[in-house]
């Protein structure tokens, strides 16, 4: 009897420790299976100043590097740094639950003014901090009145990435594409000779959740950008949809000249499109500098990038879409010593050799031999990139092309993006005017509804 009792208690103890282990290890995301969050704590000994850093990382592709960077910082300064990475698409749910804990993140990120409205009560005023002195362009800062709420740490660029070799095989080069009409001609010609060429113009425009942001968010940036430009504004509560016909033109081109039938794009994932591009099944692939690591297989010299032309006047001077949606915020509610430790850590990341190399570098940039994150950082110490897509983006700027800014961070809500995405999918399957009316409705009326419903003040 006694023995049995002992065993039972032992079992309970084991079970409870296991439970504790589980809750400590992973950030609790929203839904069961999809919410894995990798994390590890480095350095348990308290630092001299007593502060510690907890960074909730947004980019799963850079998790490994952040973990190593955190360990390096701890080794150098003795300040414990914990990095937890939210699973793809689970950042907001993870942040929501993490920040409510006693041991909340001291460093987190928002992706633009709309998200900042949610989190601004948690943001420490960064004015006067060391990291701001390193910034190369003050315009990138997110402010609330005079208060500096968020500082960007990476600048990214997207456009239409293309396979030079295949384009040449089809008998064209970048010189032939100076605007939407040229582009359309090239694309449709490739489609016409698809069987002979054995490749398509576009990779699948997947509307699976892993890929739909390329169209409902990134592609939708262009009509919004031109409308803002025409009306000379940088935000609005009611979009007019002036350039939606152009949006339709380019979307038609994407879906009708791709590797798959437009009706089945809802099932195509980001991996599908990447695989099609890497294996040479298609010439054009809309994505950005961050995708470089996935497409290295086709060779650096073989990569080119085109602006996304949508047929607007004066677009021969249009460049690639450059901007940021990665802003660092420091948690105001952290202990003062933790805030200080976090500010020091941020500054170290963008000024120290190790930090900058890890952020900007390519292969072998970290002591362990791991690749760096390949970022372009908007800070003085930014290194020359070895990411060819970044260099292509720089060339465009040097040649005087005007970069298209990222206006999509002003989109009113997730609901709005999903609404447009669903309408685009439905339109692809049945390309009638009435279906396009639904897209317009989701775009224009949806914007109004969502802007009114969301808390943005």
């Amino acid at each position: 009897m006694k023995k049995c009792f002992l065993m039972c208690t032992a079992a309970f103890l084991a079970a409870t420790t296991l439970l504790a282990g589980c809750t400590g290890g992973s950030g609790s995301g929203g839904s069961g299976g999809s919410s894995q969050a990798g994390g590890s704590e480095t350095g348990n000994k308290a630092a001299a100043g007593g502060g510690s850093v907890y960074y909730l990382n947004f980019k799963p592709e850079a998790d490994e590097q952040w973990q190593e960077l955190a360990a390096l910082y701890t080794k150098e300064t003795g300040v414990p740094v914990k990095v937890i990475t939210a699973a793809s698409g689970q950042y907001e749910p993870t942040l929501k639950s993490e920040i409510a804990k006693t041991d909340a993140p001291t460093l987190f990120q928002v992706n633009g003014p709309v998200r900042l409205a949610v989190w601004k009560d948690y943001c420490y005023d960064l004015a006067g901090s060391d990291i701001l002195k390193e910034l190369t362009n003050e315009d990138f800062l997110l402010k609330d009145g005079e208060k500096v709420m968020a500082v960007p740490y990476v600048v990214e660029t997207y456009g239409i990435i293309y396979n030079k070799e295949l384009l040449k095989k089809a008998g064209y080069s970048q010189e032939d594409i100076k605007g939407f009409n040229d582009f359309k001609k090239v694309v449709e010609d490739i489609t016409k000779r698809k069987n002979e060429l054995k490749f398509s113009a576009f990779t699948s425009a997947g509307m699976d959740k892993s890929s739909d942001w390329r169209f409902k968010t990134h592609l939708a940036n262009l009509p919004i950008y031109y409308e803002y430009k025409k009306d000379n504004i940088d935000n609005t509560k009611a979009i007019k949809g002036t350039y939606l016909d152009n949006y339709r033109q380019i979307w038609d081109l994407y879906i009708n000249n791709s590797t798959v039938s437009p009706a089945v794009i809802s099932t195509k994932t980001a991996d599908d499109a990447t695989a099609e591009f890497v294996t040479g099944q298609a010439v054009f692939y809309q994505n950005g500098t961050w995708a470089y690591n996935d497409i290295t297989d086709i060779g650096d010299d073989n990569l080119g990038m085109l602006p996304i032309y949508i047929g607007v006047d004066g677009e021969d001077k249009q460049g690639l879409c450059t901007g940021t949606e990665n802003y660092w915020c420091v948690n105001k509610n952290s202990k003062p010593e933790d805030i200080q430790a976090t500010l020091d850590f941020m500054n170290w990341c963008v000024t120290s050799e190790t930090g900058v190399k890890a952020l900007c570098g390519a292969e072998n940039s970290l002591p362990s031999g791991a690749s760096g994150m390949g970022f372009v950082i908007p800070f003085k110490k930014n290194l020359e990139s070895s990411n060819p897509l970044v260099n292509i983006a720089n060339e465009y700027v040097e040649k005087g092309y005007v970069p298209v800014s990222w206006t999509f961070s002003t989109m009113p809500s997730e609901n709005w993006k999903n609404g447009v995405g669903s309408a685009l999918t439905a339109y692809a399957a049945d390309q009638s005017d009435s279906k396009w009316e639904d897209v317009v409705k989701a775009f224009v009326e949806g914007w109004k509804t969502e802007a009114e419903a969301s808390k943005t003040e």
């Binding site: 839904s31 999809s34 509307m207 089945v264 669903s422 999918t425 969301s454």
Partner: protein, 280 residues
């Protein structure tokens, strides 16, 4: 022996009780409070009265989700239970290999909802793409897909409960009916089914509440496409919570309404089937 167990009762009760408080009672009370608040995280709530409930009821998609969910629940309830009962009947006959069949039918139940959703999505997509269609284009395709998925997953589980129930029926009652001249159908409807009412109560309760609350399968299979039309209540709540800035409280209010609906349906169903149970 019994005394010893009584003495140690806290050891047996406290862990579960604590887990129940931490994992259920506390979040429930907090959730109730939050449904009257505007909040970003659960610790910085600001009381706003019933405005969340007003917004929740004004949402047409919430009402649509309710109808869609109810319909789905009824259809899947009938399909799952009828088939599970039939298989249970078949597998309690003296056939070769009944154990193998029981295992095979039960197995899908061991796979998690998200995984099942993605697996079936692949299967459906492969088939539908032959006809140039996709699950995300029509909410009734999604509906059919969900019913098939849920049937595949739950039939085995319900079958096991029915088998246990069937095996508990005393043979002499059936024999007596046989001697009195009842044919197979009469034996089934007048003897077996009335004797099976406790199992039927459990199974209908499980599939009714379970399917009403279905979330993972819905998320993985259709994600509410097209345009929230194949969205069931739980997914609608989730989307409300995360879809718009400042709507967390509305999602919470919907969750409270949802809870009330599930409890009401569950109690009603228990009452109806209980009243039909017979003493053996």
């Amino acid at each position: 022996m019994e005394k010893a167990i009584k003495r140690y009762f806290p050891i047996f009760v406290i862990p579960t009780f604590a887990a129940f408080i931490i994992g259920f009672v506390a979040p429930f009370i907090m959730g109730l409070w939050l449904s009257f608040c505007e909040f970003t995280t659960v610790t910085d709530a600001k009381f706003v009265g019933i405005s969340n409930y007003i917004k929740a009821f004004a949402d047409a998609m919430f009402r649509h989700a309710f109808v869609y969910t109810s319909l789905f629940t009824i259809v899947s309830l009938v399909i799952v239970n009828v088939i599970a009962f039939a298989i249970a009947l078949a597998l309690t006959q003296k056939l070769k290999g009944t154990n193998i069949f029981r295992t095979v039918f039960f197995m899908p139940n061991l796979i998690g909802g998200i995984v099942l959703g993605y697996i079936w999505q692949l299967i459906f997509s492969a088939i539908l793409s032959k006809y140039n269609m996709a699950l995300a284009l029509n909410e009734w395709l999604g509906f059919a897909g969900l019913v098939i998925l849920v049937a595949w997953q739950q039939i085995g589980y319900m079958m096991i409960i029915y088998i246990a129930g069937l095996q508990a029926i005393p043979m002499d009652v059936i024999e007596a009916a046989q001697i009195d001249g009842a044919n197979a159908w009469q034996r089934l409807f007048s003897v077996t089914i009335p004797m099976m009412m406790p199992s039927i109560t459990i199974c209908t309760f499980l599939s009714l509440t379970g399917n009403f609350k279905l979330f993972d399968q819905n998320l993985a299979l259709t994600k509410g496409e097209p345009s929230h039309l194949s969205e069931m209540l739980a997914l609608n709540i989730y989307d409300t919570f995360y879809g718009r800035t400042g709507w967390e409280g509305v999602g919470q209010a919907k969750a409270v309404v949802f809870f009330a609906i599930v409890v009401a349906i569950g109690l009603l169903q228990l009452r109806i089937t209980r009243s039909r149970e017979v003493q053996q």
